[in-house]
Every structure is written in structure tokens, then in C-alpha cells.
């Protein structure tokens, strides 16, 4: 982790990656906050973590690794799925069968 210093350009780039549109007023506020939080996070550099395994899930620490053959997954059986009408009822736009969205190809 190098010296942190998030620029306005960084904020806009990350916002684009996250599909977030920020207003002109939001950008400096987010820049200030991200720098403050990353400054706090920089404390992690004090720790030497060479050779320490990364922990993604609690189970890994308890010796309960995911069984790669799938033995601890549920049985792959056909079961009723959600009622389509109930799902589509909450969609912003639907023809009853599919979700409708604006034009996908832009150029």
C-alpha cells in the first residue's frame, strides 16, 4: 500500500466502474471521505503478513473447507421455482414474460 491520495479523477473512475453517477457536489465530498477512510486503513501496513493465508470464509478457519466433489451441496433435484407472475409483478417494466429494458446497443 503506497501513500494514499485519491484524486477527483480517481473518484470519477471508480464511480464509472461501479455504475454510479455522482453529482458535481458529491465528488469532492466522496474524495474527502475516501481519503479519510483510506488513511485509517493504511494502519494495516504496520503488520507483516508475509506467509499468512488469506481468509475468505469463516469455515476455512474451522477446517470446514468446501468439499470440491460437491458432497456438501444439496441434491441436484428439480423443485418448483418462483411463480413468474409474482416475480414480474415487482419489475419496473415487463410484458409479463420478460423484463423490458431500454436500448442496449448505443452506437
Amino acid at each position: 500500500m503506497e501513500e494514499v491520495g485519491v484524486t477527483e479523477k480517481d473518484v470519477l473512475r471508480v464511480a464509472e466502474l461501479a455504475n454510479l453517477e455522482l453529482t458535481a457536489e458529491e465528488v469532492p465530498r466522496m474524495q474527502r471521505d475516501l481519503n479519510a477512510i483510506l488513511g485509517h486503513i493504511a494502519q494495516l501496513n504496520e503488520l507483516d503478513t508475509a506467509g499468512v493465508p488469506a481468509m475468505a470464509q469463516v469455515g476455512e478457519m474451522l477446517g470446514a473447507e468446501v468439499e470440491l466433489g460437491g458432497a456438501n451441496l444439496r441434491v441436484d433435484a428439480i423443485r418448483p421455482s418462483l411463480d413468474r407472475k409474482a416475480v414480474m409483478a415487482s419489475a419496473p417494466e415487463s410484458d409479463g414474460r420478460f423484463f423490458k429494458v431500454p436500448k442496449v446497443i448505443e452506437r
Binding site: M1, E2, V6, D10, V11, V14, A15, L17, A18, N19, L20, E21, L22, T23, E26, R29, M30, D33, L34, A36, I37, L38, H40, I41, A42, Q43, L44, N45, E46, L47, T49, V52, P53, A54, M55, A56, Q57, V58, G59, M61, L62, A64, N72, L73, R74, L82, D83, A86, V87, A89, S90, A91, P92, E93, F99, V101, P102, K103, V104, E106
Partner: protein, 477 residues
Amino acid sequence: MTIEEVRKAVASKATTATAVAEQHYARIAAEDGPSGKNIHSYLALSRDRALAQAAKIDAMAANGEALPPLAGVPIGIKDVLTMVGSPATAGSKILEGYMPPYDATAVKKLEAAGAVLLGKLNCDEFAMGSSNENSAYGPVLNPRALDRVPGGSSGGSAAAVAAGFAVATLGTDTGGSIRQPAAFCGVVGMLPTYGRVSRFGLIAFASSLDRVGPFATTVRDAATMLSVLAGKDELDATSSDRPVGDYVGALDKPVAGLKIGVPAEYFGEGLDPEIRAAIEKALDGLRGQGCEIKTIALPHTRYAIPTYYVIATAEASANLSRFDGVRFGLRAPGVQTLSAMFRETRDRGFGAEVKRRILLGTYALSAGYYDAYYRKAQQVRTLLTRDFLAAFAEVDAIVGPVTPTPAFKLGAKTDDPVQMYLEDIYSVAASLAGICGMSVPCGETKGGLPIGVQIMGRHFDEETMLRVALAIESGQA
């Protein structure tokens, strides 16, 4: 009223489940809204579903049938869990009007055990916050001090129990969101071990940390709730198939001989002196009941907050990508292209804290920063977990504060995210390690604000944790 009191009263026909539900709805109508105390714990009431269930329980009681453990008990559900017939907003505008087509497993289990589900409870947007001030639908007030926050993110769940708007509630805890509001509102709140309670139907914030757990007025009620909620769910691959304990039965075992660890790192600078005194008194009480109290070290404690805010935001940035205006909730109107619809929908739908965390998480995962932030934080998570595993080789439970301060005033920390995040200083380590924890009332400040004590237990050893909690609770009276 406690769970057992309600159940017995319904079973003996001293009252009916319908009458109990109506009493709670009457209290909510009188006090929860702007014409009352404006506590604002409920976002939606599920009257039809509640009264249908109450009628079913009353018919069982009338027929003299054996009643299930939560028969007629009025329970509220945090609005990040899905419940058919009620909107699920997660405290966000982006899900306004969303009617989920399925029940969360925890919701389903409560109802199958006889609970009467009163409605959906206010919370910080997507459970991101420590004060409930991030709800897009307005804050919740602390029933014990109306100028103060109830804590967060499960502020509505804690406040509803404290105000008598439910006998018990469901909350969720990712970094302290059950234990901290329980401490602020003077109720019992429990974080079960990761994997003990199904997350199916929980609107995800950080999947490796999110947990569902109960709020109640007593330790015994929290144990009863856990007995109903615990267990393997094939709809949640991270739920554990370890046998479910006898949580209520464990309460009869004395605590004499148990070794209690007190982490020096949890009593450093910044801890309110009245909270310190209250916890020392609780420890004296445990000593008096035959526990051996010993100082332990959890040396990586100070790194828990920075670790948490990398991992939780990274996971959130991925989980919240599903809110795009296509399948549910809000869609920005009048947008011509798909990519503009995504951006404008998310801009309108997400509040400032959610955007802040998505940006931070996206930054931490982006090319060139992944090893420096995300991988580093995952390695420190291992060190934090090893701290607990080493401590639990020496002691049976760990006792310390839940929060550095009692409930603070509304607006006191909203301008400074780092200050707000530091609220979680004593709660996030247990979240990262996956161990169980709970908050139990242990007195109040001179100003009358509740104080909570935190009890942490080994992975899947809620029984010992509950025994210690009960010993502390019984020492309060």
C-alpha cells in the same frame, strides 16, 4: 411480556393471540408515529398476515392442541429480510415498492413456530450504519432517550423491543448491527455463530460477515429464539449442519468453574468510565458466582476496523451491483439507453453512505489495489481469528464492552464517517472471526442511558455464552 408469558397466557386462555397482536398494534399506533413519540421503528405493518396467524394459534388453543414454542408471540422483522405480503426496502429508495415473492428462511421458521409477525422494521440503508440515521425513510429514535440514536443498523429492531412494540424481533449483524443497538436501547441482542442461522432471504450486504439474530428483553427469550432459528438450510450453502444445541436447557447449568477472559485491548483509551465501571461490576458478579476471571490478549484488535471496512465494502460493491433498475424496485424514468439507466437509477436510489461504501469497495478491488487492500485485509482477518482461537484455548467465554460510549445524540457523528465507523471498535472483531457474541443490559449511566456488556463465545458454543449472559442478567436485578 416475555415469550414464555405470552405463550402460557395464550395456552391457558387467559388471553388470545389475536388480543395480544391487537394490543401491540394499538401501542404502535399510539406511540410509534408522529402523533406519539415518533420513534419510527416500523416501516410497514403486516396486519393481515399477523391476524390470520393469530387466529390459527387461537384455534389450536381452543382445541387444546399442544402449542409451538413461539405460539402467539408478536415479533417484528428487520426490513432487510423478505416476508411475503410486505414490502422489503432494506431502508433504501432503490427498493421502494418491492414486494418479495418468497419468505426468508428465518421468517418462515418463526412463523412455523407459532410467531405472529407484526411488520417490517426500520434500519440503516442496506444495513450500513451505526445510528439508523442512514435509513432513506428517516431515523429511528431511542425509546430510552428520544434525543438519542437507537444504534444501527438494526435500530428499529432494538427500539421496537425496548418500546414494547414487539416481544422479540429479528435483526442482522455484519459488524455490530445487533449488539450495538441492543446496548444503546437496553435490550438483549444476539449474534449467532456464522453459519448457525440461514441467510436465505436476507438482502446481502457482505456475505462472508452477514448474520441473522434475535433481539429480546431477556436472555432466556433470546435462547428460545435461537432454538427456533438455528439449523442447516439447504438454500444457504454457508449454513452449518452441526447439531443444534439445547440453548434453553443450557441455562440451567451453573457458571461456577467457567473461565472468563477479559481482553485488555477492550478497556483502553476511549472507553467511557461509566461503561468500564458497569462491566467491572458485572465481572465481579461472575466472580461471585464461581467464575475464574483472567486477563487475555487479543493483540490485533486495533486492526479490526480497517480490516472490516475493506472486506465489508468490497463484498458490498459486488452484492449491490444487482440493483440496476431491471428486475425490482426503482428505475430512473425517461432514460434512453441501458447504461444510462443503470447509472441514473443507482444515483437516485442509493443514499450517500451506500455510495461511499460502494466506491470504497470498488476502489479496494480495482486493478493495482487488490493485493494492497483486499488481500491484505483478508490476511489480517486470519490474524484476528487466530487471536480468538488462541484465547478460547484458555477461556470459555470472553467479556467486554459492546460500545465505547452510550447512545449518542442524533446528528452527532453524521459528518464524519471515520468517527461513525469507530463506534464498532469492540464489535467488528467477533464479526470477522465468525464467533458468536451477544449484548446484555448491565445497568445505566447516571444520565439514565442503558449500558450493554458483550459476551463472546467459541464458534458454535452459544450454550456457554448464554449461560454467562444469564449469570450477568440475574446479577442485575
